[in-house]
Structures are given as structure tokens and as C-alpha cells.
Symmetry: C2
Subunit: 255 residues, 2 copies
């Protein structure tokens, strides 16, 4: 399997034809078997998701959250940023000492994935509104309709640092399902569902990097999905997510 | 960047010379620039970490945990398995409806990573005792001393499915640190620490698969770590992990 950085994409603007740009810069790497991984930043820019803080006059809850964060961190916090997070979210899981929220499409991440860097013309960059639809749109416009994964970077409990994750995909199932498969000695496998879109996103992120040297698209060539039927579920509902249940009963207390 | 499955490794036994086996089957893919990713299963087998349930006579806490799990799931639960999890752990974060525990080396995972499949000769396979030391040992015995990552598969909050994660590494820092780096418009980056060993483990897991067709080693060739200094921390301490704090005050209640 090969991971190929798509070089030379440059700045993406609202309305940029992303599929055209990707096709132009990926040479002969596209094709129905190769997975195209695209950073959410350029998808958001093409979809005009750059916004200004002035677009989010703070309501009382946002003002309260910002005041508490300011008090806890000693840093100035703009209540309009908290307002933007609230408007992009269906649930805030942690309010302090940072905002962890579920986006409207089900992704749990800090600040609902709102980016304050990589936005030359606006204050903020929101995640794509419906990344699965973004992936399907890019896919259908690409030659050969290859599988497409829209990636984000995100922190996680238990482990330091961020890693690439998938927030939208089209043309491939999210997971490989190993249920019922057996090991060499005939015992049923413990591991059942492997989230391959997240693994592709993590792999692509090794080449994407951040900042001015960033490469916002990577093609995964010669990867075999394998014979096992997959599932399309990635975002957990609260009913099966015990960590979310625990967070509902928790609030931050400073030492 | 290329990901190459190391083919033909076959069954690994206690005492198998893992570095020798990897060198023999990876042809010309080794070298000081290429990262060798090794599944914890074969590291554990080589380190004689296969054990039997009979080795873990259940104490009162394990019996209580197993009885509660049996009651909740309607499935038979062996209290000796719960005892093995307790002995491999420093803290149990969730007791029901499944066991989530921190291993003695800091990795938070279901059942402390104890595997009930892929173990032809014993009931259970424990994770390597000190995977960082395992990685360093394999590395120093490989020609050219390439970086080595020991991988596991693990579930996570908020997202369905498992993905590859790093549990031990040697010869490379765990993370790239982007703090102080700036984006194209000169603003400081939001994303600061990228856990590259986890991304390498996830990428390798795309080729590893599970079960009888599994490939327990993958070489990542031509990956540039990049110029940014890294950190070696992956496992969070409870003081900086709000999810762990929340789980300490939570217990499962059936609907």
C-alpha cells in the first residue's frame, strides 16, 4: 500500500472546484481502487465555511461559559467563540476547562472542530456542515469515482496528542466487520469491528502535517479493503457510550 | 510513503527470536529510516505471555465483578478472567457492562488488553509486560536499528470500532510538536501535538488484519518524521484526563 501526498494544491477559496483541483494535482494516482483522503480544512473553505466572530453575538450561556473559562485559565476568552461552538453543536459534553462538544453530524471533538488557524480571510473556519455529503460530492465529481474520506485531527481521552480521524466518507464502508471470523486455532475473534476510515485518516495525516507546509490531500493506493462486509456507523449514540453518560454527571473542579 | 506487509512470519512461540524472524522476512525493507510496526500478539508470544485461566484463582473482587457481568449480560463469565484483568491493571475505570482498565504500563483498554483468541496453546494472551522495552529490544537486534512500534487494537469513547494504537516504541519520539509553528497567514496553530506513533500503528493495522489471515508486522518506508521536535508522552495521567475523572464518579445502571 502506498500513501501519496497530493502536492501543489495551494490556497482553496469559497467555491473552488475541489474535485477538479484534486484531479489536476494527483496525476495518475486516482482510480476506483484508490482512496482519496481530503483534509476538512480545504473542504470547509471550498464550502464557504469561513465565518467571523461578529457573526456570533453571544447569548447568556456563551457569556457564562466564556467567563468561567477566563476565570479558570487566566486567559481572555471571547464569548462569541463559545457562541459559535454552541451553534455548531447538539450537546456540550465538557464546558470547562475546555469545550468538548458533539457536532450536528455526530462527531465529538474540542470546540466542535472550529479552527482558529489556517483561515487567512476570516476569524474562524467551521467544519463542513455534512461531511458525508461533502465526501459523496467530491467522489462523484472525481474521475473513476474513487472512495473519498474527509479527515479531521482530534484529541482523545486516555492518550495525549491528536491523530487523524474520519468525519465523512463515501464509496467505502466505515468498518471491516470480523464477527464470526476465527483465528488459526478456530476460536472466535475478540476483535470484531475495525474502523478502517479512521485508520486511513490517521495514515493520511502522517503526510498531511499542519500549518504552512501542510499537504491537504493524500491518495492511498493499492490498499485492499478485504472480503469482510462492513458497517457504516462511526459516531456512537449516548446510549452505547458510557463515557458520554459519565460526563453528563461530571463537572470540573479546580484543585 | 509505503506500507509493506511482512509476509510469511507464521506461528511465533515463546522464545522465538523476533528480530531474526522479522529480518528474515522483510527482505530489503529494513533500514534506519523505515519504521517497523509489530503486532503485540507476536511480541507477547515471543515473551511467553500466554497464560491459563487456572493461573488466576479468583479473589473476592473478581468474583463480584464476574457475577455482576453475568447478571447484566446473561452470559457466563469466568471470575478467573476478571482476576487476570485485575492482576494486569493499576486501575479499573469501568467494571460494568464491560471491564475497562489501565495496564501497568499506562494503556487504557478493554480487559487490560488480554486476548482470548489467537492463542493456540493457552487460554489467554497477556500484553507484553513493558512494551517500550520490547520495542527497544527488537530494535537493537534488527539490522540498522530501525525505529520500532509495538501495536495493539483498541476501542475508544465517542466512536464505534477499534483502530490500531501504539503501546510501545523505540527509536522515534511518540509525537510531533507543532507548538509555536504558524499557518500560512502567520497565525499560531491550534493543533499542537500530533501522536505519530498512533498514526503509524493505525496505518499498519490496515494491512495487519485479524485472525487466520493476519499479518503481524508492517514496515513503513520513506516516511519523513519531519523537522519538529517531539515528545514521548502518550498515556495520560488522571490529573489531565477529565474523562478518567468523570468515570471515577460513575457506575453503570441498566435501563
Amino acid at each position: 500500500m502506498e500513501l501519496l501526498a497530493v502536492e501543489g494544491i495551494g490556497e482553496v477559496q469559497a467555491g473552488t472546484d475541489l474535485a477538479g483541483l484534486l484531479a489536476e494535482h494527483s496525476e495518475n494516482d486516482l482510480g476506483p481502487e484508490n482512496v482519496v483522503c481530503v483534509a476538512s480544512t480545504i473542504v470547509s473553505k471550498a464550502e464557504d465555511r469561513g465565518v467571523d466572530l461578529a457573526d456570533f453575538p453571544a447569548g447568556p450561556r456563551a457569556s457564562e461559559i466564556a467567563a468561567r473559562l477566563e476565570d479558570l485559565t487566566g486567559e481572555e476568552k471571547d464569548p462569541r467563540f463559545a457562541q459559535a461552538v454552541l451553534e455548531e453543536s447538539t450537546e456540550v459534553l465538557i464546558e470547562a476547562p475546555f469545550l468538548l462538544a458533539e457536532t450536528r453530524f455526530g462527531h465529538v471533538t474540542v470546540n466542535a472542530g472550529i479552527d482558529r488557524s489556517n483561515t487567512p480571510d476570516t476569524d474562524l473556519l467551521l467544519l463542513p456542515k455534512r461531511p458525508a455529503e461533502s465526501a459523496a460530492r467530491v467522489r462523484s465529481a472525481l474521475p473513476g469515482s474513487p472512495p473519498v474520506v474527509v479527515t479531521d485531527t482530534s484529541g482523545r481521552p486516555f492518550r495525549h496528542g491528536q491523530r487523524g480521524v474520519a468525519i465523512g466518507w463515501a464509496g467505502l464502508p466505515a468498518s471491516r466487520d470480523w464477527r464470526g471470523e476465527r483465528d488459526r486455532s478456530g476460536r472466535e475473534l475478540d476483535v470484531t469491528v475495525q474502523c478502517v476510515v479512521d485508520e486511513l485518516a490517521a495514515a493520511a495525516n502522517l503526510l498531511m502535517g499542519e500549518g504552512s507546509g501542510g499537504t491537504p490531500a493524500v491518495v492511498a493506493r493499492d490498499w485492499e479493503f478485504g472480503p469482510v462486509d462492513g458497517s457504516d456507523e462511526v459516531f456512537r449514540a449516548v446510549e452505547t457510550d458510557f463515557v458520554r453518560q459519565a460526563l453528563r454527571g461530571w463537572s470540573y473542579v479546580r484543585d
